[in-house]
Symmetry: C3
Subunit: 106 residues, 3 copies
């Protein structure tokens, strides 16, 4: 009645670039086109900081700031780890978190 | 000092309907009124795709699009599975993910 | 190739105050300055309710409402539990959820 899956969350910020391309869009597109994972959702945070301790936050006076983004997806462990093998070249490894979940899919 | 709970995330999009009602609002209302779960939070993503591979994204030129929604809630395993027994009739089962967590509640 | 971490999600609402200070900002600042955790991201939900069953939601006619906030962070178990020891004095304990994850950090 349920199936084991691996959930991933990848922490980026809006300005992240990899070889001149937007990191979020590159990861999103390859998860869609190449890995055909079950689903991907991208969330924008309202404040955050990463490994370097820099604070990213939205406030009323600065409408356009470098906000945190999270890419979330899940699929079978093998598909996930195949995707992480190239994502880890684009994102600091401590920004990639994963854990086991279950879906109701049979 | 801590208590086992089951966390659930349900992946929808803004346009999802079930018997002519907004799926998100229907699930939200029943979790509140009928199951009285500890808490429910609904998040809107900025981009996503689901099982059919359709991309949902917000950009500056199309302000009103069909964005991804996630309903998140947690409670004791029994309460969660009682809720999932009807939610699974409204949402594709591979869009419902759950895992074990702990709260600090005693 | 991977490292165990503890993930935390803390459920607040925008109006939460602790000793006259904004609860979200106080927690965010101390996680940054004192605990130097790997990363913190704050998300705003579009609807939610907590332990008291009050619904918080954004709609087109009420632009300024008391929306749900989630503070998410992860780090080694010891660092997380050191932070939770004072966070639990500011937030109802059933609003603090944690679980084990892994990062790709070596």
């Amino acid at each position: 009645m349920s199936r084991d899956m691996t959930m991933v969350r990848i922490y980026l910020s809006e300005s992240d670039r990899s070889k001149n391309h937007n990191t979020m869009k590159t990861i999103f597109q390859r998860l869609h086109d190449q890995h055909k994972v079950h689903g991907v959702t991208v969330f924008r945070g309202i404040a955050g900081f990463g490994g370097r301790g820099q604070v990213h936050a939205a406030d009323l006076l600065r409408l356009s700031v470098d906000l945190p983004l999270v890419i979330e997806f899940f699929d079978e462990s093998e598909t996930v780890h195949s995707a992480l093998s190239w994502i880890r070249d684009m994102v600091p490894p401590e920004h990639i978190v994963f854990w086991e979940v279950r879906t109701l899919a049979s």
